[in-house]
Structure formats: C-alpha cells, structure tokens
C-alpha cells in the first residue's frame, strides 16, 4: 500500500492539510503498524476461508477478528475494539466452534471443504477486490482532506456511551427487542425436535439426498444404514455432546439440549 503515488511529496510547511510528514512515502508509526496488522489480518482471513481443517478455520477467524480489533484501537475507536473482542472473539467464535462440533465436523483435514465452484468464486472475489480497491484508491488517494487525524481519541467509552444513550436510544431499544426475538426464535427452533422423528418420507427420498460420489463417509454410512436407524442415528449421537446443557437453564424438557448453547451465548451477549 505504500506504492501509491505520493501526493504530498512537495509539502508546504504550516498548512493544515498538507503538513510536513504526511505522505505515502513517509508513513508514520501508526500507519506502519496498521499495515502490518492489516497484513496479518488479511492472511488470517485467507487462511480462514481456505483451510481444509474446519476447526482450524474457526481458529484462524479468531486471529482475523483480533486483528480487526487492533485496527479499531489504532483508529482510536477503543470501545468498539473491546466490544469486538468480547462479542466476536468471546461469543461468536465459541458459538461457531460449538456448531462445528455439534455437526460432527471431522478433526483431520477434510478434502471436500471447498465446493466445485471455487475457481468461479476465486474469479468473482478477485474481480470484486480489484473493483473495490480501484474505486477506493481513485476516490481517496489524491484527496488532501482524506487524512484521519488521530490526535484526539474519537471512540472512548464515555463518548460512545453518551452518543448511544443520547442520540441513538430508540435504535438501541429496538435492537434489544430484536435480540429478544432472536432468543425466542432459537428456543422455538430447538424445542421442536422431540416430535421430529417420523421416518417415512425421508426413507423414500433417501437415495436422492447424497448427490455426488464425493460425499463424506458419514453421509455414505447413513445411506447404507437405510431407514429408521439412520434417522435415529444423528439424534442419538447428538445427545451426549451437550453435557453443559444444565447451565443453560430454563428448559424443562430434556430434548432441546443442543441449541441451548446459542441461547446461553447470546444471553451473555444480551446482558451487555
């Protein structure tokens, strides 16, 4: 990113917008740190979307999100940075790991993690990146007013709290209602499974379901197993996972065990 044309090479001392030292060829320490952390973040993000091991992808996501948190800190958005660490790294990634484990993701490398259209996806992503970077650089790299002055912190907790509870109270309360709706929705989704054990229509469409020869050995085992026992199998071995269901509380029946973890994670989020 330091190969951009230096617009402020001939700087004029004393002016506000073209102060000395501002230029792409003379980056400050904050900018160097930003670029380095940005490279780490980008590399972790690329590893998170290309890793063949599913759990490793979630762990690379931790590094990417932590890097974004550091970028927030460098942009003096302190409160957002800590919220990012608390919510994303602390809650969302844990939920993703729960999801990976409850869907019985293989521990080792799984060669079918990417679908067949990954080259099309790569082309689309490269085209998107080229377009966005070109547009952004065209728009801002030659603008003298596009310098962020970081001398005063812009996002400490007092400032954000005052802004949030003075100007943005109504969206904040609406957001709490939305979180409540999401909580109720997750509970409804997870309560239903005690009656969902009818096997007749599934066995008729069972040869249709695994489409390709590249299906996982788990799916192949299910097709061999056939009708009723194959349907009972994921229910049966989804049960022993949530031994921690007792702390989720509030659920009287025994069956909605697994999805209690999203609620507990989001309940922790909602207290914020």
């Amino acid at each position: 990113m330091s190969t951009f044309p230096a617009n402020a090479s001939g700087t004029v001392d004393g002016t506000l917008l073209l102060a000395a030292g501002r230029g792409f060829l003379s980056p400050t320490g904050v900018e160097i740190t930003f670029v380095l952390v940005g490279l780490v973040t980008l590399g972790a993000a690329i590893m998170a979307v290309t890793s063949k091991q599913l759990v490793h992808a979630a762990l690379w996501l931790v590094l990417a999100l932590g890097g974004v948190a550091v970028e927030y800190l460098l942009l003096t958005a302190e409160f957002i940075a800590w919220v990012q660490v608390l919510i994303y790294v602390g809650s969302v990634v844990v939920l993703l790991l729960f999801g990976l484990m409850l869907t019985r993701a293989p521990i080792g490398p799984s060669p079918d993690a990417d679908s067949g259209n990954r080259w099309i996806a790569l082309a689309v992503a490269l085209a998107t990146a080229a377009t966005l970077v070109t547009v952004v650089v065209d728009a801002f790299v030659s603008a003298n007013s596009a310098w962020i002055t970081l001398d005063t912190p812009q996002g400490d907790t007092a400032t954000i709290g005052e802004s949030l509870f003075r100007h943005w109270v109504l969206p904040f309360e609406a957001l709490s209602v939305l979180l409540l709706a999401a909580l109720v929705g997750a509970i409804v989704l997870s309560r239903r499974r005690s009656t969902a054990s009818g096997a007749a229509p599934r066995t008729s469409t069972r040869p249709v379901a695994p489409p390709g020869p590249g299906a996982r050995p788990r799916a192949g085992a299910r097709t061999v197993a056939g009708g009723g026992p194959a349907d009972a199998q994921p229910v049966a071995d989804a049960q022993p996972g949530p031994g921690e269901q007792a702390d989720a509380g509030g659920q009287s029946e025994q069956s909605p065990v697994n999805e209690s973890e999203p609620e507990s994670g989001r309940g922790k989020k909602e207290e914020r």
Partner: protein, 142 residues
C-alpha cells in the same frame, strides 16, 4: 493516517469473505465467511466515523448495532444449521437440494417443490418425488 489504509483493508477483507461464501461447502464455514464480510463493513464504518469526526458518532453506533445483529444472526443461523443436521445428517450446502427439480426428469427451474406439492404443476413422471421432498422440507422447517 490516510483513509485509504482502512478502506483498502476493508475492501480486501470483504473480498476474502465473498470468496469464502461462494467457495465453501460446509454451512458453518459459510457463516465464518459472512462474519468476515461483516467485519469488513464494520471497519469501514469506524474508519469513516473517525475521519468525519461525527458529532453523533453514527458510524460507531451503527458498528455496535451491526455487531449485536451479527451475534443474533449467528445464534439463529447455528440453530438452523443444527436442525438441518439433525434432519438430514449433513451440513453441506450442496446436498440440500430439496427445492430443486431433479435433473434427468424435468427442466431445472420448472417449479420448486413447494409449488408442485399442490399437484397443480406436477408432471406425470416425477410425481412422488417433489411431494416427498416437500413433505421432508415441511417436516424440517416445522
């Protein structure tokens, strides 16, 4: 700091997330990629908020809202993923094709299973398959 640094990083992160959404098969990995895209948007919001020195701090407030909505989305999304996994035994996106017509029997986008479950547009050859798929889908989403 110039605005180009966070803006370019945000654009690249968004593209990486877009690649992940399009290229992954596992639903949880697609959710991971969606989180990356949301983070790119958040970084853009914070950068422009700090650049503009907004009095209302609209960018950072919207970032907080986005983070909360992302947490809600990941909770609901994982509940749906676990429900799909229980009903189908698979968490791969390209195996969830119940709303598609079967390729050798009908045109690919003739009508989805929900539409043909009413027996109005049902071709004679593939009679029972869309009905069964619709029943399975209805059971899964009940």
């Amino acid at each position: 700091m110039h605005l180009v640094y966070p803006a370019v990083l945000s654009a690249l992160l968004f593209s990486v997330g877009l690649y992940g959404v399009l290229a992954r098969r596992n639903i949880v990995l697609v959710l991971i990629s969606v989180e990356l895209m949301l983070n790119a948007v958040n970084l853009n919001l914070v950068a422009f908020d700090v650049w503009l020195r907004d009095e209302l701090h609209a960018g950072q407030s919207l970032t907080l809202f986005t983070i909360a909505i992302a947490a809600a989305e990941i909770g609901i999304g994982l509940a749906i993923v676990l429900l799909v996994f229980r009903n189908r035994g698979s968490s791969n996106l390209d195996e969830l094709r119940d709303l598609a017509e079967e390729p050798p029997e009908g045109p690919p986008h003739d009508g989805d299973a929900v539409e043909s479950s009413g027996d109005a547009t049902d071709p004679a050859g593939s009679g029972h398959h869309p009905d069964a798929a619709a029943a399975k889908k209805a059971e899964a989403t009940a």
